[in-house]
Amino acid sequence: MYLSKKEENALDGKYGSHLSTAFKILIAIGEATEAERLIPIKWAHVSGVNYNTLGDAGLDFITKFSKAKVSVFTTLNPMGYDRSKEAKISDHFKRKQLSITESYLQMGISPSFSCIPYEIYRLPRKGTRVSFAESNAAIMANSVYGLLTNKESGLSALASAITGRTPYSDLLDTKFRHPKTRVKLDLELRNELEYGMLGYHTGKTVNRSCVSFGSQAKRLNIMEAKSLSSALGTSGACGMFTDEDSGLELINFGKKEMESVKAELNTSENGDVIALGSPQLGFNELELVSTTLRGKKFSKPCMIFCPRSIYDKASKSGIVQQIERAGGNIFCDSCTCLTPMITRAEYDGVITNSIKGSYYFNKFNRLPVCLKDLKTIMQDHLK
């Protein structure tokens, strides 16, 4: 891979060991993805913040790396819990979590604690190259917002944040942003949960970076697009979807495929807690929850996760108060994914509309999951 003189010097350690390590990581990825060179990026989004996802080894790595400084605008994925609320979190977890967040903030990263940066920051113009870890954010950036990113790892996005560069390969290059496979739908999808099932099945089936959903991809609302993107990112390696129609190899998605996803992830008939927020809810989704309440209250504990900036905005419009009056508990800075707040010690099962959430509840939290779309959750669990 071609390196400029300045990049070579950085790799050789002339500007410090952290920059050298960051370049080494990017060069390894460049080799893997057959990049010819590195190119500049405008924005990096880093994952690996929740202690449950980063672990002790990752924590040690980030601590050693904390003297590095980011050179472009960089945002951060959710952490493990909401520091402003009472929650049953062990002191051990809190200590580790605060150490991780402190290290990232020392690097100059914005404390967004969000997996939906595309809903809380002004987006750069279409065609801008960025480096997004957090699979739903990468897929949304590519597919909905016209930004260019590969499906980065937490570490590759951090290396790009520090160097301001990323390997010029795959989805960064417009010629690779055309799918070879289209998923043909044999049934009408009715809600965000079914779009999540489509994404999950597609991720398992298509191992290319880009896939088409045909005209169906043009009609998505934000909740459907987030559900599709997060599920697609969970089960596979795809980093983008489009609506291209012609000349593509076809695979089908119908009742049988949907039943197969259900059989894997819908592992309970019921649950004793409702969890909404993988990805975190945006303003429109919080508003939808509040308008559906119509003066009723949740019949089970309901935990809702959103970014703090969305919470503040929704608070000003009275949305937060309506949801809290109904018994909903809104948590900022965190999400359902590998949350330490919903455990087997306290709950027997989780009700959620998130395929990504259900995947990690089943596999990591070892909690059975009852999958329902949001409308059905609001019909079944309000009194």
Partner: protein, 138 residues
């Protein structure tokens, strides 16, 4: 006899171990016990098997972007593979994870049918010279 297979070097180094092959992608965040190196996902075809000190042969990683730190943790806990071979694409999670964990990583894409034959046999990845050596192959 000993068999030599040409491969594409991604991360340099030399690693020896028994070939452990799967054609199912791996989500390192959720599929592997990071303390023991044993595949824990009941739906994965390697469930119950340890990837420690193996030559892990798999298509590519899927899922969480944080899987990179899981690969690093496997290394720190002394339960990482001795070498990794991707048979489909070399994804960013695997490449960056092997880079910080110091695990030799290569790509071999056109040998689909051979891996079942090699499964369990001792192999050495010499990523520096882009060669996989399979020993005692009949």
């Amino acid at each position: 006899m000993t068999k030599y297979i040409k491969c594409r070097r991604i991360i340099g180094g030399i690693g020896t171990g028994k070939i452990l092959y799967t054609n199912v992608p791996i989500n390192f965040l959720s599929d592997v016990n990071l303390k023991t190196g044993v595949v824990s996902d009941p739906l994965h075809d390697l469930v119950g098997l340890s990837i420690k000190e193996t030559i892990l042969v798999f298509p590519h990683a899927v899922g969480s972007s944080v899987g990179v730190y899981s690969i690093f943790a496997l290394g720190m806990n002394g339960v990482a593979p001795s070498g990794v071979i991707c048979t489909s694409k070399v994804d960013i999670i695997t490449a960056s994870g092997c880079a910080i964990a110091g695990i030799p990583l290569v790509q071999i894409t056109d040998k689909g049918h051979i891996w079942n034959t090699f499964n369990g046999i001792q192999g050495t990845i010499d990523a520096n010279n882009s060669i996989l050596e399979i020993k005692k192959f009949k």
